[in-house]
Amino acid sequence: MENAPSDTEIIKTKNIDFYYGTFKALTDITMTFEKNKVTALIGPSGCGKSTLLRLLNRMNDLIDGARVEGEVLFEGMNIYDPEVDPVEIRRRIGMVFQKPNPFPKSIFNNITYGPRLTSTANKSALEALAEQSLKQAVLWEEAKDILGRSAMILSGGQQQRLCIARALAMKPDVLLMDEPTSALDPISTAKIEELIDELKKTYTIIIVTHNMQQAARISDKTGFFYIGKLIEYNATEKIFTNPDVKQTEDYITGRFG
């Protein structure tokens, strides 16, 4: 197979152009995301980094007038192939959003919502899964006694970890995170960052962030975007100490953006 992936790469975009109606939001994005690594996407607002993220699990399909050109290869398979079911893709590539968005249901039902609808797991299997997912998201200790209560009583940071647990319960291969800490306080943010560090052992994580320190702290590779173009994509250390492109340096040192 000509598109056969190497052992380390899991998602690859090939010459992606993306349009909202007539507005071109992304131009010729070609990049490779590595397995069990944290990749950060940074850049000023409106640079297309969130658009790219949402494109990786076809969440942009939901937007009227959105159009993609090019290929996104997930384990060698083009997810924009007409025969591919986006629902199946989203099961394997989970997503956590900017604002915590738990359902107005109990904590337990939030976590088991996906598996219950997409598998035939019985009650005890669901309970085990809920416990496992909550532990992975480091929420188990806080939530184990209140599983039956509404998720709305949790704090913002707890809700976000619940959303992560909810995504993990689907046992995805990749976890996309769209500014997962931008609505949270510093302590919750630190908790989520620790969590991301832990999760990359099992999952591939791609994270969009506005916070450059965060990108520097948690990611292995960083892509810098500007006006819909990928300006530089390198090891995080290199990006933050000795970037190849002047524009990247200007952004990172705060000269613009």
């Binding site: 699990n57 969440m59 939901l62 009227d64 629902v87 199946e88 893709i89 989203r90 099961r91 394997r92 989970g94 997503m95 959003f97 604002k99 968005n101 738990p102 359902f103 107005p104 919502y113 996906g114 609808l117 997409t118 709305m152 959303c163 909810r166 995504a167 689907m170």
Partner: protein, 209 residues
């Protein structure tokens, strides 16, 4: 009967249909239907159900006519309720790899239910008070027996009042009867509306986002 149809129509309009000229045209159509005088629905019911479909002036024809009468109200209320469900709920569910239909069934509809129910019950209470549609299609001034299901004539409170107050030979003497009938009707409508209010406040308390 109008309820599922109205909700399905609203789901189609808000969730599935591409928002464009056609949907806008449908919406305008639905809204103007809501403003059409009820007597027009009555005549339509007479023409379509009673004569064309040959149902006769019985309960079935009357019920269908009232159903059509309140359909626009239900569609409108359901659409508003569906639009009120935060987009983030839909995204959260879809991002978990749950299909669009299951997302609507499990997340969107339950969240929109209080709004849909309230709107629909208000529609039903409107139907209860209507005279014109059933006068052509189902109602009779007086029967001594309780009606059989579906194919029988039926007494209807509003029509009964109308006849008592206008067509009798002893209008003055039937005054107490008129007042009694009106009281029952008003109490019925009020009761139905109260149910709507209770449902809304009860279900509204559970959800906060």
């Amino acid at each position: 009967m109008a309820l599922p149809l109205g909700v399905v129509a609203a789901i189609y309009l808000t969730e599935y249909a591409k928002q464009g000229k056609i949907v806008r045209a449908i919406r305008v159509g639905v809204n103007s239907l809501a403003g059409v005088p009820s007597v027009v629905f009555g005549l339509f019911g007479l023409g379509f159900f009673v004569v064309f479909m040959n149902f006769g002036s019985y309960i079935l024809a009357g019920a269908l006519t009232l159903g059509i009468l309140i359909l626009p109200t239900i569609i409108g209320a359901s659409e508003e309720a569906l639009k009120g469900v935060p987009q983030t709920f839909r995204e959260a569910s879809l991002a978990l790899g749950v299909s669009k239909w299951l997302t609507i069934w499990k997340i969107v509809l339950p969240s929109a239910l209080p709004g849909i129910l309230t709107g629909s019950i208000l529609g039903i209470s409107r139907a209860a008070g209507e005279t014109a549609p059933i006068m052509f299609t189902a109602a009779t001034f007086f029967t001594a027996k309780l009606p059989q299901p579906i194919f029988d004539e039926v007494m209807a409170l509003p029509y009964h009042v109308y006849v008592l107050a206008t067509s009798g030979t002893h209008i003055e003497e039937t005054r107490p009867l008129q007042f009694g009938t009106v009281l029952v009707l008003v109490a019925l409508v009020l009761g139905v509306d109260l149910i709507a209010i209770v449902i809304r406040s009860y279900m509204g308390r559970k959800k906060r986002w």
